[in-house]
């Protein structure tokens, strides 16, 4: 499985309140949440994002609330993968559980710039910045987490068990 798209780049501590503000948490459907994704720090995001695009950020991405609405909003907005130096733990597990691919890779998070075209190969963990030609290897997941991701999330994983 591969992701390929252009990069939206953000800094440290992108919290779940800016990924999807709580004033929209009365909605539960991903498509509706996606309309407001990132709007408190980047009003242009929802207008510019294309299906398959990739988000890159520095440390502690997804800190704060446990709202699964955050990875859901990103996924439904079209984001195919989030690359960060580190992820906050609840966001991390939520992304895995709903089948939004994420990769921890400090080198890629630093080097990749906004607008770059990036390809991610989830089987090998190799991240290629097609704009600069640089390539990086992300942190591989343990086997059971690979299985959850391959199944497309925790619900499918349990259904298949």
């Amino acid at each position: 499985m591969k992701a390929n798209g252009h990069v939206f780049k953000y800094g440290d501590n992108v919290d779940t309140d800016v990924i999807i503000p709580a004033r929209y948490l009365n909605a539960t459907q991903g498509e509706e949440l996606a309309e407001h994704c990132m709007e408190d720090i980047d009003k242009e995001f929802v207008h510019k994002v294309q299906k398959g695009d990739i988000m890159v950020a520095n440390k502690n991405f997804g800190c704060g609330s446990s709202r699964e609405h955050a990875p859901l909003a990103l996924k439904c907005a079209g984001i195919s993968c989030v690359i960060a130096e580190t992820f906050a733990r609840i966001f991390f597990r939520n992304a895995i559980n709903i089948g939004l691919p994420i990769i921890e890779c400090p080198e890629a998070a630093k080097a990749i710039q906004a607008g770059d075209e990036v390809e991610v190969d989830f089987d090998s963990g190799v991240i290629t910045d097609k704009t600069t030609g640089a390539s990086f290897t992300g942190q591989p997941f343990p086997e059971f987490m690979q299985k959850i991701i391959t199944a497309g999330g925790l619900v499918n994983y349990i259904n298949e068990a």
Binding site: N13, V18, N60, G64, S65, R67, I158, N159
Partner: protein
């Protein structure tokens, strides 16, 4: 396992996709309607209706709605649903609160909640641990909130990322149970997986007063390994304030310049308990909230509300010019009951001061203890109660 009116509807939707749709144990699931209730709009009402129907269909024993609810992390210990030795997951990040009782408790998402409601299981990585050895006795206006803000300021918002925060040392005897709930509650604000206290006589007394359940006391091994150990002298701490827009941006009250405020919020799962109500009332008694300031007091549970009434605290708040609300998370996450306009500043006893958390993206939240929030409400600027 726990869910609220925001996270449970998503979990219920996920559960509908599962082959097995029976709950594993109707007594071990708690559903608490607390974030946007009493319903703030039609969509919130639909969400609560979804939870209510689910609770009814599956005969969920511990379903708490308007009239008997409270903010989940104040309510569950009060109802005796959590005791030492329990493992609790909650689809709410502040589930880490129950470490104050010697339980392992941590926040998860809605899909985890759905899976756990059906299977009774969740996946975990065993965290490494950081020890905070607390010594000494805190001064008059220093509370659990100041202890945890100090720690977050020291280690940063990812300083305990994926780690267990263990609070220990002779100083814990000088912390009330409400102080300990506040401290564990904000472990997540340092990225922590959980926060945990040893179970001492005070914790045992609390559990005996609130629960009929048997509990198991676990202690850290004598040779336990810690990634770091920090020694914190509580007697040296000062009232602490977190500046926008991260909880780690802390300053002690004496380092705060003149910052005028528009609103003060006293409540939330962090600071809406009896100690907090009493501290705020001690400051507000016989005084008036500054003319241009809105002061909003939110007792965290019906029982705290009632006790505050019996002690005459509600009268003190109202006579001071504050408003007192039914329990709700309300303004903490920018839901309702105190949303900020562009350029407004709020001193708040809540747990997060992220961009736009309480309203407009150009509003500001300063996190502090109930005593500091109350003193600030009176003086119209961020202030120490010792100034009054």
């Amino acid at each position: 396992m726990l869910g609220n009116d925001i996270t449970s509807p998503v979990a219920i939707n996920e559960m509908k996709k599962m082959n097995n749709q029976k709950v594993f144990n109707k007594d071990k699931i708690a559903l608490v309607m607390d974030h946007f209730i009493p319903n703030k709009d039609i969509k919130s009402a639909e969400n609560c209706k979804c939870c209510r129907e689910f609770a009814c269909k599956h005969e969920i024993t511990n379903y708490f709605d308007v009239g008997e609810m409270g903010i989940e992390h104040a309510l569950l210990p009060e109802k005796g649903l959590v005791v030492a030795g329990d493992t609790v997951i909650g689809a709410d990040s502040h589930t880490c609160t129950y470490g104050a009782l010697g339980a392992f408790s941590t926040g998860v998402g809605s899909t985890d909640m759905a899976a756990a409601m059906v299977t009774g299981k969740a996946w975990f990585k065993v965290p490494s641990a950081i020890r905070f050895e607390l010594v000494g006795k805190p001064g008059k206006w220093v509370s659990g909130k100041d202890v945890i803000l100090h720690i977050i300021g020291m280690i940063g918002v990812d300083g305990a990322l994926y780690k267990s925060m263990e609070f220990t040392g002779e100083g814990i005897k000088n912390l009330t149970m409400d102080d300990r709930f506040t401290i564990c509650n904000m472990a997540i604000e340092a990225g922590g997986k959980n926060g945990i206290f040893p179970v001492d006589a005070l914790a045992v007394q609390y559990m005996k007063e609130h629960s009929k359940r048997e509990f198991t006391i676990y202690e850290a091994d004598a040779d336990a390994e810690y990634e770091e150990t920090y020694v914190i002298d509580l007697s040296q701490l000062k009232p602490t304030v977190s500046f926008p827009h991260l909880p780690e941006n802390t300053r002690t009250i004496d380092q705060v310049e003149e910052i005028k405020i528009d609103q003060a919020v006293i409540g939330s799962c962090t600071n809406g308990r009896m100690d907090d109500m009493r501290a705020a009332a001690e400051v507000l008694k016989g005084r008036k909230v500054a003319k241009h300031v809105r002061c909003i007091v939110i007792p965290a549970t019906q029982s705290i509300y009632l006790q505050a009434m019996r002690e005459g605290l509600l009268e003190i708040f109202i006579e001071a010019g504050a408003v007192v609300s039914t329990p709700t998370c309300g303004p903490c996450l920018g839901g309702y009951m105190g949303i900020l306009a562009e350029g407004e500043r709020c001193i708040s006893t809540t747990n997060r001061n992220f961009v736009g958390r309480m309203g407009h993206t150009k509003s500001e939240i300063y996190l502090a203890s109930p005593a500091v929030a109350a003193a600030s409400a009176v003086l119209g600027r961020i202030a120490c109660p010792c100034e009054l």
